[in-house]
């Protein structure tokens, strides 16, 4: 059992190490480093040996020294003896190895005696792998976008995939793209329009969704079950199906190129899910609270504003966040309905810019950063309201 577990553990950790180093090598190659061979067999042997040595040494050396020693040996062999590579590459490899040896430091010989330990190890590494891989997939383009927005035209022509930012240049040059998009491309105006549309959509959606969700959750009326189940059916129509009929209608009504038109469409598309999310939460609020409020002489309106809304802050803020993100990032409707640059939203503006072959890429990327950052900040800010458990203490739980 123990031998089997030990071998399995060493293999799993070795594959994990290969995965980490491979990503690093790919990134390094993109930076123009010529790596002769991938040297997978070297990493395989080293990974296996490090895992075994780690188990063998156990607690005899402090784990921090152990990590440093293992990492140094690996860097020395891989980056110096086998092939000579620049120092920044080796620092990266050292950090990866350090991270890796720290990760495996919690596994010991004694732990491996247990029957389930291989399953635990497998799941540990699978989760870690998942987190690293998918965050890489998401964060790498984001990082490229950020880096590119700080580049000059020449630097981009020399090496379009250069990951470094040249901080030695003048701060004005560094932020040049941002100045340009706000000055020449009127991004300030687009931000204002996008903000008005998004915040407006949030307000209008909540205004309709809260009473509607309360009605679905609590009141009995004819056709209630049909209504509550059909709410989501609206969501099954793809937007592209709606967009052409809506285009003709909006053209007739003169709603194209107007914020009001966008507000109507966005609210219509976000309302069903908003109602669905809210009614689920409203149902979880104990009915006795409302009955107590009735005895306290509150009207229906008072119950909603004084009891339901304060208690549903987490649900309402997550709905608001969701609606805001949909409205802020929405692209299809804004593409169809807006053709006058004076009424563009941010996403439409970026599309407009990229459609123009003359627009330098760093400006586009700066524009994309401007689109992304507000959502990021709002999410971080609202996150604290998303904690559940506001109803704690009201009734026996």
């Amino acid at each position: 059992m123990r031998i089997k577990n030990t071998i399995l553990f060493s293999l799993i950790s070795t594959f994990f190490l290969i995965f980490l180093i491979s990503i690093w090598k790919i990134l390094a190659t993109l930076q123009g480093l010529s790596i002769n061979s991938f040297n997978i067999e070297i990493i395989l042997i080293f990974g296996f040996l490090i895992s075994l040595a780690h188990l063998g040494i156990g607690d005899r050396i402090k784990s921090i020294y152990k990590s440093i020693i293992f990492s140094s040996i690996f860097v020395f062999c891989d980056g110096y003896l086998i092939q000579k590579l620049p120092i920044w590459y080796n620092v990266g490899v050292f950090l990866i190895l350090y991270f890796f040896t720290n990760k495996i430091s919690k596994y010991t010989f004694i732990g491996l005696k247990e029957e389930h330990s291989t399953q635990v190890i497998l799941f540990d590494f699978l989760t870690l792998f998942g987190i690293l891989f998918f965050s890489f997939v998401i964060l790498f383009p984001f990082y490229m976008m950020l880096v590119t927005s700080f580049k000059t035209q020449i630097a981009l022509l020399v090496n379009p995939l250069d990951f470094s930012i040249n901080f030695s240049q003048d701060i004005k040059d560094l932020f040049k793209s941002y100045f340009v998009i706000f000055k020449s491309y009127k991004f300030g105006k687009y931000i204002v329009i996008s903000t008005i549309v998004s915040v407006g959509t949030v307000i209008v959606t909540l205004l309709f969704a809260i009473p509607a969700a309360y009605a679905v959750a609590r009141l009995n009326f004819f056709g209630k079950t049909f209504l509550s189940t059909s709410i989501l059916i609206i969501y099954m129509f793809p937007a592209i199906v709606l967009v052409i009929p809506l285009y003709t209608i909006f053209s007739q009504l003169g709603l194209r190129n107007s914020i009001e038109g966008l507000l109507i469409v966005y609210t219509a598309t976000t309302l069903p899910v908003a109602i669905y999310m809210l009614q689920g939460y409203f149902k979880s609020i104990p009915k006795e609270l409302e009955e107590a409020a009735i005895l306290d002489k509150l009207s229906w309106f008072g119950i909603i504003t004084k009891i339901i809304i304060p208690l549903s802050i987490p649900a309402i803020s997550s709905v608001a966040l969701y609606v805001f993100m949909i409205a802020w990032n929405e692209f299809l409707f804004s593409l169809m309905f807006l053709d006058n640059p004076n009424s563009f939203t941010l996403s439409r503006a970026i599309q407009y810019l990229s459609g123009d072959a003359e627009t330098p890429r760093q400006y586009l990327m700066a524009g994309s950063v401007v689109v992304t950052l507000p959502v990021l900040f709002i999410f971080v800010y609202f996150e604290k309201y998303l904690v559940s458990g506001l109803t704690a203490g009201s009734v026996k739980g």
């Binding site: 009955e291 107590a292 005895l295 009891i307 203490g393 009201s394 026996k396």
Partner: protein
């Protein structure tokens, strides 16, 4: 100072009849306890008084004013819920003053009322806390305090102690009893716990499937139950009910029970099936009693100060409550006065 009157109240949920023809006249400042098994309609009755449930048929009067169509807030009742139902986003003071604030009463009046209530319930130091920072007992105190500040004519308690642990329940029971002595108002209290009913009530209303089985003081209910249901409902362990077949009814006033011929005074028994009830606490061991029998003892539960003896005699299962210092011999006895006799429909026959 109020009295409550029910005349022919009916209530059903769909085809499910919860309450049928309920009639009751409450006395002034009375502590009325509605007790019954779950699903008997006692909570529904309370919610109908409060206005949270519509009255299908019949009328309810408070101080001779019909309240059927009155809005819940105008009925001058205050309800204490089983689950407390405190507003979690408000602190104790705000919870207690909320109703008054909605009525837009002056600040000083609100303050005095809340302080008074807090003083009665000894929760003055908790006023700044949020409900989630309170223990179960404290929460229920706040819920009662909220009811007091509304200054109602009738307090409605919907199983207020069911969510508390046993020790706290006993403590709060005493508190509620004291509260009633302190603020002389009508209180209607719903429970399924017979101990609460017996200790708190001025009068007990025993309900079963939406019907009143018996109304009376705790003593009346215990000593003089109207039927088998009431007799078995009150008292732990519940009353032993023994079936007496036609052939064991020897004459108009004599039956054969557990090997004894028992003769009743002034009783006319039909030649039909009867039921005999004996409370476990009235079965005695090692004492001089008029009648005795030799049961087969199956199990003895020792509760410290007393023991519960489960036994079998012929086809009858019996239980007895006996002080734990009494040795249990082979025979168990009982007296004539301790016997309740019921007809075949379960109605009590009085001698």
């Amino acid at each position: 100072m109020a009295n409550i009157k029910f005349t022919g109240v009916h209530k059903s949920f769909g085809s499910n009849k919860i309450i049928t023809d309920f009639n009751l006249l409450g006395k002034e400042d009375e502590f009325l306890v509605l007790v019954g098994p779950s699903g008997c309609g006692k909570s529904t009755l309370l919610r109908m008084i409060a206005g949270l449930e519509k009255i299908d048929e019949g009328e309810i009067f408070i101080n001779d004013q019909k309240i059927n169509e009155l809005h819940p807030s105008k009925r001058q009742t205050a309800m204490v819920f089983q689950s407390y139902a405190l507003y979690p986003h408000m602190n104790v003071y705000e919870n207690m003053s909320f109703g008054l604030k909605i009525e837009k009463r002056p600040k000083e009046e609100i303050n005095t009322k809340v302080m008074q209530a807090a003083k009665i319930l000894k929760i003055e130091e908790l006023l700044e806390r949020k409900p989630k920072q309170l223990s179960g007992g404290q929460r229920q105190r706040v819920a009662i305090g909220r009811a007091i500040t509304r200054n109602p004519k009738i307090f409605l308690f919907d199983e207020p102690l069911s969510n508390l642990d046993a020790a706290l329940r006993a403590e709060m029971r005493v508190e509620i009893s004291k509260l009633h002595n302190q603020i002389k108002t009508n209180m209607i209290y719903v429970t399924h716990d017979q101990v609460e009913a017996m200790t708190l009530a001025d009068r007990i209303v025993i309900l079963n499937q939406g019907n009143i089985e018996q109304v009376g003081t705790p003593e009346e209910i215990y000593n003089d139950p109207a039927n088998i249901f009431v007799a078995q409902f009150i008292g732990t362990p519940k009353m032993n009910i023994l079936e007496v077949n036609e052939e064991n009814v020897i004459s108009e006033n004599t039956i054969k029970l557990l090997g004894n011929d028992i003769q009743f005074d002034k009783l006319k028994l039909n030649k039909s099936k009867h039921f005999v009830g004996i409370r476990p606490e009235h079965l005695k061991a090692n004492q001089n009693t008029k009648f005795t029998f030799n049961p087969e003892i199956e199990l003895i539960e020792n509760l410290g100060n007393e023991k519960i003896v489960y036994m079998k005699k012929d086809e009858h299962q019996l239980s007895a409550k006996i002080p734990s210092n009494v040795e249990i011999g082979s025979s168990i006895g009982f007296d004539l006065n301790d016997i309740f006799i019921f007809d075949e429909n379960g109605k009590r026959l009085k001698s």
